[in-house]
């Protein structure tokens, strides 16, 4: 009976593969953000990561690097999107302490569900809710700085809307996300701390202009808690994205991540390549 069930579910899965698709309009799938969820660069959006429509599924992969004064963040991730309704993602962070030496690794598992709308066509913004479960592997630094936990779960609600021709004829995209979190620096420095160990609501936003069907530019802002009392700053970035086809996208950004683990003025280049596998 168990085997029969396995075979039938495998069959269903394989049939689903045949429906892999890219029926969304170019650019409307967005990117994969740092934690692996469909979004912009540092903010999860209400859009799901692939070009699948309600009859299709898709799989995406991405690689991102952020080079800062004293650190370098490497991210490798993948996501699947089912029927433009549900998204599941995984992202692996390796945070190199280039000045001090050593590295911190963690894995982020994400799930997101579309609650309402279509980013282009509905009157109100597309709405999605998501979770990101973060599991810190290298806990030494997190313990050293006084964090309370080495794993944690973020919960967020995101609203995203494209306004066609809204700015001098160019398409405008905006996103607003509210996130409940205890994570210190994405979770790389653990969760909670001496200053605060409860969930706090953080606001995150993105604003972009689409200069053609293939080029977009904009800004992002991400509010951060300061649980460790180390002066953790809000994040901001300015980005340019090139989307030559639905198969691949390139993003270059200037990121100002402020103070990280007591080292101030962490600024640098963010580079990301993502794409749809099927």
């Amino acid at each position: 009976m168990g085997l029969k069930k396995l075979i039938s579910s495998t069959l269903i899965f394989c049939t689903s593969l045949a429906w892999a698709g890219d029926g969304k309009l170019i650019g409307t799938a967005g990117l994969n953000q740092l934690e692996g969820s469909g979004g912009g660069g540092i903010v999860p959006w209400a859009t799901l990561s692939g070009y699948d429509t309600r009859d299709e599924i898709s799989a995406n992969a991405f690689i991102t690097q952020v080079n800062l004064e004293d650190y370098r963040l490497n991210v490798l991730g993948a996501s699947v999107s089912l029927y433009d309704r549900a998204e599941f993602s995984v992202a692996r962070h390796v945070f190199d302490l280039t000045t001090l030496g050593g590295e911190i690794a963690q894995t982020v598992y994400g799930a997101k569900f579309k609650l309402y709308g279509d980013v282009i066509y509905s009157d109100w913004p597309q709405l999605s809710a998501g979770v990101q479960y973060k599991d810190l592997e290298d806990t030494a630094v997190a313990n050293l700085v006084g964090s309370k936990d080495t794993s944690g779960t973020d919960v967020y609600l995101a609203a995203t809307k494209v306004h066609l021709g809204a700015v001098g004829g160019y398409n405008l995209v905006w996103n607003l996300t509210g996130r409940l979190t205890k994570a210190n620096q994405l979770g790389l420095l653990g969760f909670g701390g001496p200053q605060n160990s409860d969930y706090e609501l953080m606001l995150e936003g993105s604003l972009g202009l689409l200069f053609s069907r293939h080029f977009a530019a904009g800004v992002e802002y991400r509010q951060k808690p300061d649980n460790l009392d180390l002066g953790e700053d809000d994040w901001i970035d300015v980005f340019v994205t090139y989307i030559p086809s639905k198969k691949v996208n390139f993003t270059l950004a200037w990121a100002d991540l402020g103070s990280i683990a007591g080292a101030t003025g962490q600024k640098g280049l963010y580079f990301s390549v993502g794409g749809q596998l099927w």
């Binding site: 698709g21 890219d22 029926g23 969304k24 309009l25 170019i26 429509t53 309600r54 009859d55 299709e56 433009d84 282009i120 066509y121 306004h163 066609l164 021709g165 809204a166 700015v167 001098g168 004829g169 160019y170 398409n171 405008l172 936003g205 604003l207 202009l209 200069f211 053609s212 069907r213 800004v219 802002y221 809000d234 901001i236």
Partner: protein, 139 residues
């Protein structure tokens, strides 16, 4: 940190406010001649697309050209009135999927590109067409 965001927003609002409202999109596009060119290109795009062509199997193409041109004239604020069937009447029973709808949007964009319609005018025209989508999908 919030200040630059505010200025960017303010700039966008101002940029938008300065856009001229007195000239209709119909005139900006180049009137009926340009609309006819877009529609002709669109029909050509459909003819060469194996996925979308079957939807037009029972279509009287001359009538489609006439009515769609009329519709674009109305959407862009031109001096026309639409005399065709409702979108629901035309697309009912076709069960048009979201993917095929978007593919047709792509073909329409190709048609505008080939008629040298600037990107900004393309967006403005599409923005005035989107409300018809829910009268066309999965019927």
């Amino acid at each position: 940190m919030v200040k630059p965001l505010f200025w960017i927003l303010a700039c966008i609002v101002m940029l938008n406010g300065c856009a001229s409202r007195s000239v209709s999109l119909y005139e900006e596009l180049g009137g009926q001649a340009k609309i006819n060119e877009i529609v002709e290109n669109f029909v050509y795009e459909i003819e060469y697309n194996d996925t979308i062509l079957p939807y037009f199997a029972d279509t009287d193409i001359d009538r489609f050209i006439e009515k769609f041109a009329e519709q674009l004239c109305v959407f862009s604020g031109g001096p026309c009135s639409y005399s065709g069937d409702t979108m629901k009447q035309v697309h009912g029973g076709m069960n048009i999927t979201e993917a095929d709808f978007n593919l047709t949007v792509d073909l329409f964009i190709n048609a505008m590109n080939k008629a040298n319609v600037p990107h900004t005018l393309q967006n403005k025209l599409i923005a005035r067409m989107t409300h018809t989508r829910k009268q066309m999908l999965y019927l």
